[in-house]
């Protein structure tokens, strides 16, 4: 049963925004114009501090999305209710337009591992994630956006593709998808799959946000190459290609430029967002018969 999407004048438009990180808070707070929307990791503000005050100031002028990294939706042990309470409090404070987290896990046996660890795509894992997503949605009173992660390995006992897993999750929970096209490309390269073939395998009508980011190419000790989702560069040409193909068919979707390592000047992020915005504008050109 799909949950209602909160209607709000601050609802994030189908436009290009940026991931807001600490080095840019003061600059954005001083001059918020020119940003369609921003996204932050709520965990970075849950301890309090000056950055939370700045985020609240920015929120007065710019729509904000909360993109979690700590719900650990794939944990067998369930969602940490204390963390869910922190997230719910943050939602009350920031009033975000979108709330998202990842199809991954990071907590086991009371230990938090700061990474988005992979799940085997099995019926057992689907039951776990669906249970946890429903628990989160019940607590926050809105649909959660679930993001496809970047992956560096696959499990022998997976019985579903990632797209099949996400489709079933949408059907069972009413959640929406945050489609990270850089992750799609990185995972496909690392696992020997074809990203173009998988691009439309997810339920496109459930995609409520797109992520774009840069990545790095690394050679492992055995000579094999992997793409590392380090969010440390401009968006790769292959990812832009996936993006334009997706939005031309599925329509414009709120799109975010992420940059988390070697964070450049704010203008660099704005230029990447402006490029995404041009593509979004192109995707609005109606598909009419030319002749």
């Amino acid at each position: 049963m799909p949950l209602p999407v909160p209607s709000s004048p601050d609802r994030i438009p189908a436009a290009a925004g940026i991931g807001l990180r600490f080095p840019h808070h003061r600059e954005v707070a001083a001059a918020p114009s020119g940003l369609a929307w921003v996204e932050v990791h709520p965990e970075n503000y849950m301890a309090g501090g000056a950055m939370l005050d700045l985020l609240q100031a920015i929120r007065r002028d710019v729509p904000v999305s909360l993109h979690g990294v700590g719900l650990s939706l794939g944990s067998v042990g369930g969602v940490d209710t204390a963390h869910l309470a922190r997230l719910t409090a943050m939602i009350g404070r920031i009033e975000p337009s979108l709330v998202s987290d990842h199809l991954s896990w990071s907590v086991s046996g009371g230990v938090y591992v700061p990474d988005l660890l992979p799940l085997p795509y099995t019926e057992e894992a689907l039951d776990v994630v669906a249970r946890n997503v429903i628990q989160v949605q019940d607590a926050i009173g809105r649909p959660l956006l679930v993001e496809n992660p970047s992956r560096y390995l696959a499990f022998k006992h997976s019985t579903l593709t990632e797209a099949e897993f996400l489709s079933a999750l949408v059907q069972r929970t009413g959640c929406r998808l945050l489609y990270d096209l850089n992750n799609l490309f990185v995972s496909a390269f690392n696992l020997g799959d074809d990203p173009a073939a998988a691009l439309f395998a997810v339920p496109t009508e459930a995609v409520a946000e797109i992520h774009l980011a840069g990545h790095a190419l690394k050679r492992l000790d055995d000579g094999s190459e992997v793409r590392i989702d380090d969010h440390g560069d401009v968006v790769a040409a292959e990812v832009w290609d996936l993006y334009t193909r997706f939005i031309h068919r599925a329509g414009p979707v709120p799109t975010l430029i992420e940059w988390d390592t070697s964070i450049p000047a704010l203008d660099v992020l704005k230029r990447e967002a402006a490029k995404a915005q041009r593509y979004l504008d192109f995707a609005r050109i109606p598909e009419t018969r030319v002749a």
Binding site: G49, W105, G109, P114, P120, S224
Partner: protein
């Protein structure tokens, strides 16, 4: 194949410890390739924890050097990984971990610098100003009943070594003055609080420190003064020092 609970426990062991075989057995590909792929997650996770500690302990890193700090941080992360996904709160036990290292046994000031780093870091997470009502106290003065409010960011530290000036010099980048500083000057009683973007580290007398500590624990001001002072003269001196500390706001009634 393992169930999900077993797989997740195996995965955490592979990231925090040396044994990747159990987790690797579930991964597609041969054992060597699986180990390398698991290593990507291991590197990301451990570097994230190391970076979190580096951000909280900048002066400590400056003193021990980047390489020693990195090794210590990784060892601590494996021994005491976080329990919650709020990394700004991770690392309270790092000073004690440093104190336990044989390589630092003769350098007790390193762990004390780390304690000061942590107090400053955590004070920065508190609201600025003096907004917390539950730290207000009243005191009868010559001008009437004063309301005294402690800064919500206030942290108190009792250190065995004299590291305050060393910490301040390093933080200011004034390393020339280090030649005049010696950590062997005895214990220090310190107060740390934030005011806007600045942090202040104030040296207190032991009596004033105990008074401040009693108030932080919720004690009554006049009782606390009488407890920490042996006689009326000392009480007056302690009260005078306390009233001049920078982490107070004193409000007098409007006349």
């Amino acid at each position: 194949m393992p169930d999900l609970a077993t797989l997740q426990a195996d995965f955490v062991r592979a990231i925090l410890g040396p044994d990747r075989s159990a987790a690797g057995a579930s991964v597609l590909g041969d054992a060597a390739a699986a180990g390398l792929r698991l290593g990507i997650y291991r590197t990301t996770a451990l570097s994230g924890l190391s970076e979190a500690l580096r951000l909280s302990y900048p002066i400590t890193e400056r003193v021990v050097g980047a390489a020693f700090f990195e090794q210590s941080a990784l060892a601590f992360a494996r021994q005491a990984p976080p329990e919650v996904p709020v990394l700004a709160l991770y690392g309270a036990g790092f000073p004690d971990f440093l104190r336990s290292l044989p390589a630092l046994a003769a350098l007790p000031y390193v762990a004390d610098l780390a304690l000061l780093d942590w107090a400053v870091d955590q004070a920065g997470l508190a609201p600025s100003g003096h907004r917390t009502a539950d730290r207000s106290h009243v005191l009868a003065t010559e001008r009437g009943i004063a309301t005294i409010t402690l800064a919500p960011s206030l942290r108190l530290l009792r250190l065995e070594t004299s590291v305050r000036d060393i910490w301040l010099s390093l933080r200011a980048g004034d390393e020339d003055s280090l030649a005049d500083l010696d950590w062997r000057q005895g214990p220090q009683w310190l107060a740390v609080h934030h005011q806007g973007d600045d942090v202040e580290v104030t040296a207190l007398t032991p009596a004033c420190w105990r008074l401040s500590d009693a108030l932080l624990l919720g004690g009554d001001l006049e009782t606390a003064i009488s407890t920490v002072a042996a006689d009326p003269g000392e009480a007056a001196a302690v009260a005078g020092e306390f009233m001049n500390t920078p982490f107070l706001r004193i409000d007098f009634p409007r006349s």
